[in-house]
């Protein structure tokens, strides 16, 4: 049955479609460094694939990768560099910040990450199966670390399982006598990562994964477990 409402014409509909976008609150833009680090990782991934697909031999592939090392990690500016493992990529930028991208599908080598962060000027306490915190926690968490995808105000984010969370560190903002606590929990139903600042000289650790919020300013990621093979 026809009625007046069916007279919505294309221009009205077009306007309403466009206006509907204004109802979407977009999170803050990530730092440019996050994008460029990811762009470099994308290139590496592609080049590795190209090299792997090369039927003309490993030597040719190796030559390609080696030949591009100078391109990808370009004339690294002083103090900058990239550390890449199966579980994470840590990129130090010329402005002193560093970006950590985590692959939740891989087991984290906590000692290696803690050491690598330290080399990039980020004092950190990286633990697996436990989490350390101070009460009260040092102030300034949001100045030291920013997260991507963006954290809601609650500090808790459930990450889709194929999304690789990225953390950007600003060592210059780290309060004196503080370090970053990063606890990684591989639970049966999910992976959980918790972040807070702790006082270097005063903190306690627990093997119980924090639930229902952290005891101070911080962040908590939960990542769904990998799907079945081929998913």
């Amino acid at each position: 049955m026809m009625n007046d409402h069916e007279q919505i014409n294309d221009s009205v509909l077009t306007r309403e479609l466009r206006e509907s976008l204004t109802g979407i609150a977009a999170p803050q833009r990530p730092p440019l460094e996050t994008i460029t680090a990811r762009g470099r990782a994308y290139w590496r991934h592609r080049l590795t694939g190209i090299a792997g697909l090369s039927a003309s031999g490993i030597a040719a592939g190796a030559a390609l990768v080696l030949g591009l090392t100078g391109v990808l990690g370009p004339a690294p500016a002083r103090g900058t560099g990239t550390i890449r493992t199966a579980a994470f990529i840590l990129v130090k930028h010329a402005n002193g910040t560093a970006t950590l991208t985590i692959n939740p599908r891989e087991l984290l080598d906590t000692a290696a990450l803690q050491n690598d962060l330290k080399q990039d000027g980020i004092p950190a306490l990286v633990t697996s199966g436990s989490f350390c915190s101070s009460d009260p926690a040092p102030a300034g968490f949001s100045q030291v670390v920013s997260f991507y995808p963006s954290l809601p105000r609650s500090g808790f984010l459930r990450v889709p399982k194929d999304v690789h969370p990225t953390i950007t560190f600003n060592p210059a903002a780290m309060p004196a006598g503080a370090e970053l606590s990063f606890g990684d929990f591989q639970l049966s139903s999910r992976q959980q990562a918790d972040f807070m600042l702790v006082n270097t000289s005063s903190y306690t650790c627990t093997s119980t994964p924090p639930s229902g919020g952290l005891p101070g300013p911080g962040a908590q990621f939960q990542v769904d477990p990998p799907g079945p093979a081929g998913s």
Partner: protein
């Protein structure tokens, strides 16, 4: 190769285009966290291929389409469609009549190709020819998809308005 090439202009493009691209992709997918990741991946690829993308007739369309394709493969690997009941971006600043949410939900119900055409033609304001080239289809096919999509959207919106007025 790509990464070594001149990246001038990318920072401005990224700053100007992040939010418009993200809102369009979020509107299409209904999941802001996923849209953020898809759009970041698309910008990362745009950065890696900036020599090409910077010469593209519609770089934002390139980013949006790349993001949506990334998301499509994400969903295809799971062998299911985007769950409409699971979207987390229902118009938080809607105009009080709930139509924003209705429009966005209707948009996500469209078949993928029709949705892509609406995204490019309506949200990014591309002309028929550029949309056709971007999607690799004929201009007449773009018109057909757009007409069907607009009909479906009009039907949904009309029904929603009727319901609103009855309440």
């Amino acid at each position: 190769m790509g990464v070594s090439q001149d990246k001038s202009g990318f920072a401005d493009f990224f700053a100007d285009s992040w939010e418009p691209c993200l809102t369009v992709v979020a509107a299409s997918t209904g999941n802001m966290a996923l849209a953020e990741d898809q759009v970041a991946e698309a910008f990362a690829r745009a950065w890696a291929s900036w020599a090409k993308v910077s010469r593209h007739p519609a770089p934002r369309a390139w980013v949006v389409r790349t993001a949506l394709n990334t998301g499509a493969s994400w969903w295809h690997r799971r062998g299911r469609e985007t769950p409409l009941a699971d979207h987390d971006i229902v118009a938080s600043r809607s105009q009080g009549n709930g139509l924003d949410a209705v429009v966005l939900t209707a948009l996500r119900r469209l078949p993928a190709r029709q949705r892509e055409v609406i995204v490019l033609r309506v949200f990014l304001d591309l002309d028929i020819g550029t949309t056709a080239r971007q999607l690799g289809i004929a201009p007449g096919t773009v018109r057909a998809h757009q007409a069907r999509a607009m009909t479906a959207l009009r039907r949904e919106l009309t029904a929603a308005r009727a319901t609103t007025e009855m309440e």
